[in-house]
Symmetry: C2
DNA sequence: CGGCGTCTTGGACGATCGACCAACTGTGAT
DNA sequence: ATCACAGTTGGTCGATCGTCCAAGACGCCG
């Protein structure tokens, strides 16, 4: 194996671990499966990571940040509030249908963190981030459209987050795309009904 | 160990497995942990079950049915549509806060089933049941209140299921009860706005 | 050139897991 | 009492896991 800095190898292992998770699930993401995916000898692993938990922790934070980055592009663009909302929900859903495994892994990691002693904070921070981003995007959309939300922003963000998580989870099980899109459309209309002209 | 029919022992092991899951999570629900919880020798296990998977399968179906049975009581009672909806959502949420672990296990089992070869159907049927029950309850509520839903029932049921799953998942991570209740209240008002007087 | 720190490697260890089995015990029917 | 069958038991097997280590290889600096 060609020589490589431990830092770089860490990144490659994190990426390999994520691929294994998407393919086989978090539980089956063993140290051996990861180094095998990265085509590295087993001994490398504990030279780059103190433990398997440390690797999973890194994957969780990476997932969280990348999820946030993706969402950030979602509310971009022109149009009135209705068009922006509809486009955002559509973009989110396109992301789910395009790579369901990644979202599935996200949930698996959340439940893993909730069970792991001392990792509960990681799950908490994960959703803290999501809610914060949703809050920010809803605020920007309101400002850009010259409206005010008639519901407290933290509640609205949690509502939006809940619907997105909920439809994704249900779709992962039954793959009913048609009804899911209608639920998102319904949610979009509901959001618009919660906007009032700014004073 | 006192003599007992294999059938009865099966039930006790299923119950013990569920307790272990709630306490330690699905992943740590090993055959040894289960028989230890049930205070039985290890050898009993494979006399009552062909495999660990068979036990988990039984727990999943039990969870699904009990969840359905619980939901069935939720829409009972008197009052107009608004009161009934509010009471139902409150009852659901009371159930979550009262025993969060059971709901957490439900999600863990769903993800377990989605990953297990040949168990995908179990997850699909699980959500099929949930949607069917929500659909039925929404239909009964409409009939009893003399209204019609302005949204197709399957879509409305999926929407309701999504919100409930979503807020539960988020709450399991951040335990913000106050905002969660407001989201449910918001959802209740939304549902009412989707009701029209029957012709 | 020589040494030193970084990286590489294959193998090994103890723990834990699902699964299995042979021997034993109790019970009810004959 | 005897026999057949259902239930019980403790031990053990092979596989897989996370982790660790000693020895070697590489590359940079003096």
């Amino acid at each position: 194996m060609s020589r490589m800095a431990a830092k770089d190898r860490r990144q490659e292992l994190i990426a390999a671990a994520f691929r294994v998770m998407v393919r086989d699930g978090v539980v089956k993401t063993t140290t051996r499966a990861v180094v095998n995916e990265a085509k590295m000898p087993l001994g490398i692993f504990h030279y780059c990571f103190n433990s398997r938990e440390e690797l999973l922790q890194e994957v969780i934070t990476r997932i969280t940040d990348s999820g946030v980055a993706k969402a950030r592009n979602v509310f971009e663009g022109e149009g009135d509030l209705g068009a922006r909302i509809a486009r955002s929900l559509y973009a989110f859903w396109e992301g789910v249908e395009l790579s369901p495994g990644e979202h599935q892994v996200g949930y698996e990691l959340t439940h893993y963190a909730l069970r792991q002693e001392g990792f509960e904070d990681l799950a908490r921070r994960q959703y803290e981030h999501y809610l914060e981003v949703h809050e920010q995007l809803l605020a920007e959309a309101a400002e850009s459209a010259g409206i005010k939300w008639t519901v407290p922003l933290p509640v609205l963000a949690r509502y939006l987050n809940a619907v997105l998580d909920g439809v994704t989870l249900c779709w992962l099980a039954d793959r009913n795309s048609e009804n899911t899109r209608e639920v998102l459309s319904l949610t979009g209309e509901h959001l618009m009904s919660l906007a009032a002209k700014d004073a």
